[in-house]
Symmetry: C2
């Protein structure tokens, strides 16, 4: 059984690097705190009998031998990077749950059939280096290693250079072909309100909704705020503001809304940032999601149409570019059955669809994959107030342990 005290202590031990005064976390990919928590992850898993592989994207595989070491390991993975205003559970609970399974096997002298790998995937959040789930995406062959390493942060620094700087470019190629796993389990906090409303600690995750990211540039004409008549302006920020409102309107209207549409603009940068110069350049990112691939495309179509109309009305030039596509995912039936049986043992009968992307999305392209959700208090995530009760952390890890042992038996 999972040791609830230990797993919760380990969560907070791992948060000593990158914690913020408001009780949250700010551990962006490949910064110094990310280096420190990686060092800790390796040192701790080594104590529990693991050897390590680090790949060209900095993904870390902590491997405990099994009975049949000619088999690739069964993996349990998630991520230790966080949002800039993140919490202590998103990603962290998944890696620490894997570490806890490892500890349970170790203290009970259990030799699994296949080897076990606990994985820390690089740059899941995509907060510093968009897009997200990059380490698992490269591993799964969805992006090339060159593409992954060339991602830049807002300051123009590449992920490749930062990984070199913190000493986490491994010798292993980043590939499911040369560094395979048999299957992938991931525990994650729900990040939404359903388990909290259902008063259940954990759930089976059936799949992940469809998502796309876009980069937008709105170009108008800089002009004086005081001397330029209102009807002679090409105000890029006014146009951008109307686009933000329009994207929201589309996702909250009609059938699309009823089927769970989401559209958000959270990043905006306007130039030249002078109070008395009408903005001539605005950059934004749009995030569209829905359980249905076709609805994501329909929201995109309506956004383009609406944005074009706004651009025309204000004499603006709009560039609209898709930067990330992640179609809807259904996890592996056998894996889900293992999770379901284990979850039922503690009375958790719900199956949810994930609103957020996870490393499991990309591993599912290559190997049987499944996920377990832990309840998020008030559904809050990507926020320092993100919280999952100690007993819920332990419950999700317990479901993982049962599911993992079932799959290893199979």
């Amino acid at each position: 059984r999972i040791n609830s005290t230990r797993i919760n202590a380990t969560i907070h031990e791992s948060c000593q690097w990158g914690s913020t005064p408001d009780g949250g976390m700010n551990r962006l990919t490949a910064n110094d705190d990310d280096r420190r928590v990686r060092d800790w992850f390796i040192a701790t898993t080594k104590e529990y009998g693991c050897t390590h592989k680090i790949d060209a994207m900095g993904n870390i595989f902590a491997i405990r031998p099994g009975e049949n070491n000619s088999l690739p390991p069964i993996a349990i993975g998630s991520h230790l990077d966080t949002q800039p205003t993140g919490g202590r559970y998103d990603g962290i609970l998944g890696v620490v749950s894997g570490m806890e399974v490892l500890k349970v096997l170790h203290e009970n002298n259990v030799t699994s059939y296949a080897p076990l790998a606990v994985i820390n995937w690089t740059n899941e959040e995509g907060a510093r280096f968009p897009p997200c789930m990059l380490g698992s995406g490269v591993w799964a062959g969805q992006f090339t290693t060159e593409y992954g390493r060339a991602r830049v942060d807002a300051a123009g620094i590449t992920l490749g250079n930062e990984l070199e700087r913190i000493g986490y470019v491994g010798v292993e190629a980043c590939s499911f072909q040369t560094n395979p796993i048999l299957a992938h389990f991931e525990v994650h906090i729900e990040q939404g309100p359903i388990l909290d409303q259902a008063e259940l600690p954990a759930a089976v995750v059936g799949g992940v909704q469809s998502m796309r990211w876009y980069d937008m540039k709105v170009v108008g004409r800089e002009a004086h705020t005081g001397s330029t008549p209102m009807d002679r302006r090409s105000d890029a920020l006014l146009g951008a503001a109307k686009m933000i409102v329009e994207a929201n309107r589309i996702a909250t209207t009609g059938d699309l809304a009823d089927r769970g549409a989401r559209a958000t603009i959270a990043v905006i940068n306007s130039s030249p940032q002078s109070i008395n110069t009408i903005s001539g350049d605005v950059q934004m990112n749009l995030d569209i999601r829905s359980p249905f691939d076709e609805d994501v495309l329909e929201i995109e179509r309506q956004c383009r149409e609406g944005f074009d109309k706004i651009s025309k009305e204000h004499g603006l030039t709009l560039t609209f570019e898709t930067i990330w596509i992640s179609p809807a995912v259904n996890f592996n039936e056998t894996m889900k059955q293992c999770v379901r049986s284990s979850a039922l043992e503690i009375g958790c009968h719900l199956q949810l669809t994930s609103g957020a992307g996870h490393d499991a999305v990309y591993t599912s392209k290559r190997v049987p994959t499944a996920m377990i959700f832990a309840r998020s208090r008030d559904g809050v995530s990507h926020n320092p107030a993100e919280y999952t009760r100690p007993e819920d952390c332990a419950a999700a890890a317990q479901v993982l342990l049962g599911a993992y042992l079932r799959y290893d038996d199979l």
Copy 2:
């Protein structure tokens, strides 16, 4: 008479510091280019017989003696700082016109009755250190020197420290009382379309419209863009976008619009700048203007009302703070008469109200002040494409010369 070739050559000579590849200017207050152009201003005016006073705000007074040197000088001033995406005429034409008057007096061995001062006022644009017209504002006792020196740029650097760094903190107190002038003329580009439409090179400026600046903070709740239902969000950027649209609606509707209302949000900063975290914090600046003080207040009232409604609707907290107030100004009648007579000599019969603030606004609080506008091609300003034809620069300076000589005679 003004030497058209010379004044235009001097404009472009002064633009060698801070020019941008697109033909515009980026010479923010107290940066290295501002230091270089100040050095040039002092060296050049020295060649034409001036001595110099520099005050605690870095304002530079280049003084040519007159017949009666117990009198304070009649001043001709404007500014050499520019917007980050500025043009080659805004402010620069005013200082260079003063230098050209100086050169005409010098080459014709004219001794004026009162001394002449050509002034470069510090930080007129307010682009790097809001609010604008700061050097003249402190001189006129509208702000304290402490307040002026404590203004910070986006990086948190104070104007006082930057002035020290470039060596432009003078021994003179910044005050109309201890460093007085008799009167203040300012030539400036119109920055609006009226003279271009009227096909006139220059105009008398009757006064300046009323203006206020505001700092706004919109606080919502960071949350996951993928897992947070649309109806459970407090999206600070969505609220901010609605406020931008609302401010625009207010200024373009009904009587306020008919009387020339303007409302603009040009600066926006959102946090945490992560594509998949709903924005929890947005900072913006609002710029409201109208020829009528009471209309500015009415636009403010309607904005507050509209913004409060939006905040309530989205569960946001709004902070709304006035950071700058500049009531409508009427320039001095005697001074205007001097400008009018001089302007009529070259067929310029129009009198305009300025939509932009100028150093003349603050000097007008203390001494007789008047302004002359030069035509702006297409009314474009605060833009690298800002352009005033060589003949229009010369015409405005010619009006200045005539007005100045008339006032000196008086």
